[in-house]
């Protein structure tokens, strides 16, 4: 049963990924991306990462893809991409490079393994490791707010900076020209 779910979700994930690359209309690409993101959420559920399932659906499938679709609709770029290629042999070369990359990664999977001791029995364990550690959410939260508190605060600063930067960059260029002219006149 779990293999059935795995292969179903794997087929959906690969179909969605191929759809992102092969479909001509950017709006269709964004919808294919949702299929892949939800399939990855299913894998997270299978691997026991309950909090990440919710975050994957809310942040990725919810916020990020809606942002993509919003920009596609706003700019009206949902027309088809031209098929002729300015660079000759770009697609065959990309295909060959992709196959080489895949071969490299699979070679690494077969011949190397992540080093590091299992954390069973410590406070970092995903399951087991003493009573009172709580479920998946409690364990992630404990790690996040103790070991990773400083990166967590930096991430908060990063998000604020990203919001400010997005507002500054997306501002109409006419407004900045006007303020420059006003500054020169005064």
């Amino acid at each position: 049963m779990e293999y059935f779910i795995f292969f179903l979700a794997a087929a959906l994930a690969l179909a969605g990924a191929l759809g992102v690359v092969l479909l001509r209309n950017p709006a269709h690409c964004a919808l294919s991306l949702v299929v892949t993101l939800i399939s990855v959420a299913i894998f997270f559920a299978q691997l026991g990462a309950a909090l990440l399932v919710a975050m994957q659906i809310i942040v990725y499938a919810g916020a990020i893809v809606v942002l993509f679709l919003f920009v596609i609709m706003l700019l009206g770029v949902d027309r088809k991409e031209s098929v002729e290629e300015p660079l000759k042999f770009q697609r065959p070369v990309a295909l060959v490079l992709g196959v080489i990359l895949f071969a490299e990664v699979v070679f690494l999977i077969g011949h190397q393994w992540a080093t590091g001791a299992s954390s069973s029995g410590t406070a970092h364990a995903i399951h087991g490791g003493g009573a009172g550690l709580g479920g998946n959410v409690e364990r992630v939260a404990r790690s996040l707010f103790t070991d990773f508190l400083w990166p967590f605060e930096i991430t908060a600063a990063l998000l604020v900076l990203a919001v400010v930067g997005a507002v500054v960059l997306a501002r109409r260029s006419g407004e900045s020209a006007e303020t420059v002219e006003a500054g020169e006149a005064s």
Partner: protein
Amino acid sequence: MPVLATTIDAGWYLVLAALIFTIGAAGLLTRRNVLVMFMCVELMLNAVNLTFVTFARELNDIRGQVIVFFILAVAAAEVAVGLAIIVAIFRRRRGATADDLDLLKDPTA
């Protein structure tokens, strides 16, 4: 406690993540629309997230899942800034493909 703890071998997840990563990389090299190239980057990030969670299960270490939390936050920030840049480019150059960004190219060449 895992919600649906499986006994599926980690190798399956790793090969699948490698496949998604490769598709994303090949798409980044072939597509011209900047928005679709961005989506291919998201595909590659997701493949890496899947690898992180797989190794978190293999090593029984919750910190692999915490890293994915940070990758999600950074991806959200990256998309916000990147799409703002695309909107700004589109306002000036009336096009959102990588071929439109040839400002440095010598027009007489």
